[in-house]
Amino acid sequence: MNKNILLQLNNIHVHYGGVKALDNLSIKINEGEIVALMGPNGAGKSTILKTIFGLVPIESGEVVFLGNQIKLEPYEVVELGISFVPQGRRVFKHLTVLENIEIGGHAIKSRAVLKERIKEVLDIFPMLKEKLSQKSGQLSGGQQQMVALARGLVADPKLLLLDEPSLGLAPKVVKEVFQKIKEINEKRKTTIVVVEHNIKSLLEITDRAYVLDKGKIAAEGERKEFFDSGILKNIFVGKI
């Protein structure tokens, strides 16, 4: 079955100093998919997300979104309907929980729509409801992670980029977050690209996955192919 391609990265090169972070990398993401990016620390997974969001300069290559080459500037990427939940939370610590979430919805012009969206994301993370007026810096690391996720979701993006969404979350909350990610994908048809080290939980919800090594694609395939092949074993024993 042919699927519509939402996003393509074509022959991307990114360097950090003298280090090749992405080395002639090409990937494609279809509409409505959840795609996992896996690989060792330093393989380039987070760099892919940052590239799409315009947070790292590319040396060469192009990013195509809905058939058009896009300008890699964060404010323009947001306008296109792409949200990014970065690794390490990055909440605005001196702003309240509500203010942080509202920032995620700054492109929404209607106050009523924004209010409705905030209500929806708070239903996903009910723990935040009673902390809306609290400064985000006073929250625990795990709670800040929830704020970051809520901030990414509030814009109801076409493409959601998640960098380690389970980082710092308690087991009970991790299960809930992965369920919610799947739910968001199914109900809202949001396309999701996710970097995550919790591979077991990740592969339960993904359609396809790319495995990266040293800035290149080492393997790619449907979820089932990963379970049936030796790729996962190779990842776990560090051969990839």
Binding site: V19, N41, G42, S46, Q138, G141, A170, V173
Partner: protein, 244 residues
């Protein structure tokens, strides 16, 4: 080797009891797993014990003899205590190796102006960086490392301190399976050397594998403590923390 105890430790933030009159003991030669729901006070407890955040009342007792009513962060090294942070804290604009050398060399005002790294310092830095697989990255800026590599550098820096008491705040978060094995073996080595190791972690497989003793916090209070398997099968812990 040092042990660390707390008596009646209390801290509140704007009406929220973050640590609520807690009494605990962390023993040497053991890894103590410190677990609990998000916001239960685990990281706050470590922040109180390492002076990053001042506590309101209570006592911290180190090696049975030193009673502290106030803990200052810059005193921790002299008590042979070190830690890592959940949100990694490095000297971003310094090379990897300098992030290690900075804790190996003693610095006074004059000394810092004429600092010289002796063979011993460089060898020790090499040892800990090789232990975490970052020796090849020694000349790169800390800011240019990936998240996982940054966590490893912070762990290497803690190892270079050669302390007696180690607090690790989610050291495995964001690490790849193969690197998790390396960090696990580091923690086991510290335990085998008789060090006191306190591990905050949400990965229950690792808690079961590594912890000799387990403490569960909830809303700043002690919810349960004991052997990991016993604690993790308690109904209250499953309901509050693990989920079905």
């Amino acid at each position: 080797m040092s042990t660390i105890k707390i008596k009646n430790l209390y801290k509140h933030f704007d009406g929220i009891k973050a640590v609520d009159h807690l009494n605990l003991s962390f023993e040497s030669g053991k890894i103590t797993g410190l677990i609990g729901p998000n916001g239960s006070g685990k990281s706050t407890l470590i922040n109180l014990l390492t002076g990053v955040v001042p506590f309101d009342s209570g006592v911290v007792i180190i090696s049975e003899t030193t009673k502290l009513l106030r803990v200052k962060p810059y005193d921790m090294a002299s008590f042979d205590i070190t830690r890592t942070f959940q949100d990694v804290r490095l000297f971003e604009q310094m090379p990897v190796i300098d992030n290690i050398l900075v804790v190996l060399t003693k610095r006074g005002i004059v000394g810092s102006l004429f600092e010289q790294h002796k063979k011993y310092h460089l060898e020790k830095a090499k040892e800990v960086l090789e232990r975490v697989g970052l020796w090849e990255k020694r000349n790169e800026l800390a800011a240019d490392l990936s998240y996982g590599q940054r966590k490893l550098l912070e762990i290497a820096r803690a190892l270079a301190m050669n302390a007696d008491i180690y607090f690790f705040d989610e050291p495995f978060a964001g690490l790849f399976p193969e690197i998790i094995k390396v960090v696990s073996s580091i923690l086991k080595e510290l335990r085998d050397k008789g060090k006191t190791v306190v591990l905050v972690e949400h990965n229950m497989e690792l808690i079961r594998e590594l912890s000799d003793y387990c403490i569960v916090m909830d809303s700043g209070e002690l919810l349960a403590e004991g052997k990991p398997n016993d604690v993790l099968s308690q109904k209250a812990v499953i309901e509050a923390y693990l989920g079905e």
